[in-house]
């Protein structure tokens, strides 16, 4: 039977598998039936916050939201501060999640529980359909942490994601019936593009659980025994190599969120006998470029991306401006790039204000804003030491105190409501004065020097 749920669902038949669970497969027909059942219980709302980690529950929430033309909100973290911000900004917000932790006054629904109560012989009264303009409306708001202390919104359309999904599948030469297995959350732009929208648009299947340990990935692959695309990050790539797990049935792997060591890329391809591709992108734009690092260090832009230099090359720090037909239209890149030629380029590091840890991004300005809001702190700044031993380099803080006594524990407690746990400082250096220039700007080289001096001597 032919079906038409284009452009979002590219499946050919109702019997095609959308989701693989550990010992069960969910077909298009089952998905449609579950959506029809859940649709009866979804309360009226305009804004949707879908926090499910399980990809099937996330997908149900997503498709229900698109069907209802909800505005999907994707914050960069779910700290108490961020949830409070969303609740105040969008009073009718509906949270979909398996627990109502920190939902405050938000409307809350657990579709997982509802599904458990679904009658076995439930008959859908209507076929799944989307209104024509569902994909071209500004129905997505993705937040970055911004630089003013408040989450910064970027408005997108589902069409932006569909355009990326179509290109990814083609450029990565994905075979039919591939299964996507992802170690990254579905809510972040990279995860949403590669592990949700790419499989939907191209009719691939999705594994519902998010593996964490390398042995989890191994177990899923051994059990499923089908061609799989692993969507992951440098930290999981390294962890798989390091623990020497077996990863059979890989068609290819994808890494993003941080630069991958070229040795790791080579070893991973050798050990697991499958290509490893890297994606370069950002929350604001989505996927920008691809490369297979063992084949070329050059990044190749997607077809709807053009990068150009915004001013004549007369300084070392000129900007690179990206132009696209996606919602954002233009964007100044956060990275230094070189050798731009024929829409291919080399990457040469991130601008100093951007902090990227294990796929989560924030800015020093955001962190410093919240640090300086702590009463006991007179002045202070976050600092990210250079990469050591190939591990994620955690942040440290330098602080000048209003009063003499303050502990790292107290500092973390004050910050944790506002800052994602991963960015909490690992060390705290109390100093008498921060190295600032006449305009008050913190001098990065001086902080670097201070860190090397302080690193030998310990404090709190």
């Amino acid at each position: 039977m032919g079906i038409n749920l284009q452009p979002l669902l590219g499946y050919q038949a109702l019997t095609d598998v959308v989701i693989y669970q550990y010992d069960r497969a969910i077909t298009v027909q089952q998905l449609i039936s579950d959506i029809a059942y859940l649709d009866q219980y979804l309360p009226k709302h305009q804004h949707l916050l879908n926090l499910y980690e399980n990809r099937y529950h996330f997908l149900l929430g997503l498709l229900l939201g698109i069907k209802r033309q909800s505005v999907h909100l994707f914050p960069s973290n779910t700290t108490e501060y961020t949830l409070d911000f969303l609740e105040k900004k969008y009073p009718d917000i509906l949270m979909l999640n398996q627990d109502n932790l920190a939902c405050g006054k938000m409307n809350f629904l657990d579709i997982k529980i509802l599904l458990q109560e679904k009658p076995v012989h439930f008959l859908a009264q209507s076929f799944l359909s989307f209104k024509e303009d569902s994909f071209t409306k500004d129905n997505i708001v993705i937040f970055t942490s911004g630089s003013t202390g408040k989450p910064k919104p970027f408005v997108k359309k589902w069409q932006d994601f569909i355009v990326v999904a179509e290109q990814l599948a083609t450029k990565l030469a994905t075979k039919e019936h591939a299964m996507i297995l992802a170690t990254v959350p579905a809510q972040h732009t990279y995860g949403l593009e590669t592990s949700i929208i790419m499989p939907l648009v191209n009719g691939f299947s999705i594994y519902d659980e998010r593996p964490f340990y390398p042995a989890d990935i191994e177990k899923i692959l051994m059990k499923q025994a089908r061609a799989t695309i692993l969507i992951s990050t440098p930290i999981h790539i390294r962890a798989c190599l390091n623990t020497q797990v077996r990863l059979p049935f890989l068609q290819y792997s994808v890494s993003a969120t941080a630069p991958l060591e070229s040795d790791h890329a080579r070893q991973f391809e050798q050990n697991y006998n499958a290509p490893l591709h890297e994606i370069y992108g950002c929350t604001e734009v989505g996927v920008i470029a691809l490369r297979q690092p063992t084949q070329s260090p050059l990044w190749q832009c997607l077809d709807d991306i053009k990068i150009e230099i915004t001013q004549p090359i007369n300084t070392e720090e000129h900007d690179y401006c990206l132009r696209t037909t996606r919602s954002i239209q233009t964007f100044i890149l956060n990275d230094y790039i070189t050798d731009l030629n024929d829409n291919c380029f080399l990457l040469n590091g991130r601008k100093s204000d951007v902090i990227n840890l294990a796929g989560k991004r924030t800015s020093l300005a955001y962190l410093n804003h919240h640090l300086l809001n702590i009463e006991a702190i007179k002045d202070g700044c976050f600092y990210q030491p250079e990469l050591k031993d190939d591990k994620h380099q955690r942040l440290v803080v330098f602080i000048v105190l209003e009063k003499n006594f303050f502990t790292l524990k107290a500092l973390k407690k004050a910050l944790q409501k506002k800052v994602d746990t991963i960015f909490l400082p690992r060390q705290c250096y109390i100093i008498k004065q921060l190295p600032r220039n006449k305009t008050g700007k913190i001098l990065n080289n001086e902080i670097k020097l201070l860190y090397s001096e302080k690193n030998a001597s310990k404090n709190i």
Binding site: Y213, A215, D216, L424, R426
Partner: protein
């Protein structure tokens, strides 16, 4: 509270792997490793899984029913490693 030999060994592994600014005797064996307590997070858990796999030659898995309990404190982690070493 004094630490057992294995707790000292695992504590040192945690400190070295995660580059923590503390001595092994600063760790209360019953204190939480994640959240309050040592304040570790998921990236640390992955780093620790790698270090444990290399040092003790067994793999950690999410579907172990006791996974949360295993990582609760230094004591529970050391106890789990001890039980795996006995099986191995």
């Amino acid at each position: 509270m004094s630490l057992s030999d294995l707790e000292v060994q695992v504590g040192e592994l945690i400190i070295e792997t995660l580059n923590l600014d503390m001595e092994v005797n600063d760790i209360d064996p019953d204190d939480y490793l994640f959240g309050e307590g040592l304040g570790l997070d998921s990236i640390d858990a992955l780093e620790l899984a790698m270090a444990i796999s290399n040092q003790y030659n067994f793999q950690l898995r999410s579907d172990d029913a006791n996974n949360r309990k295993i990582f609760r404190s230094l004591k529970t982690l050391a106890d789990y490693i001890d039980s795996q070493l006995k099986i191995g």
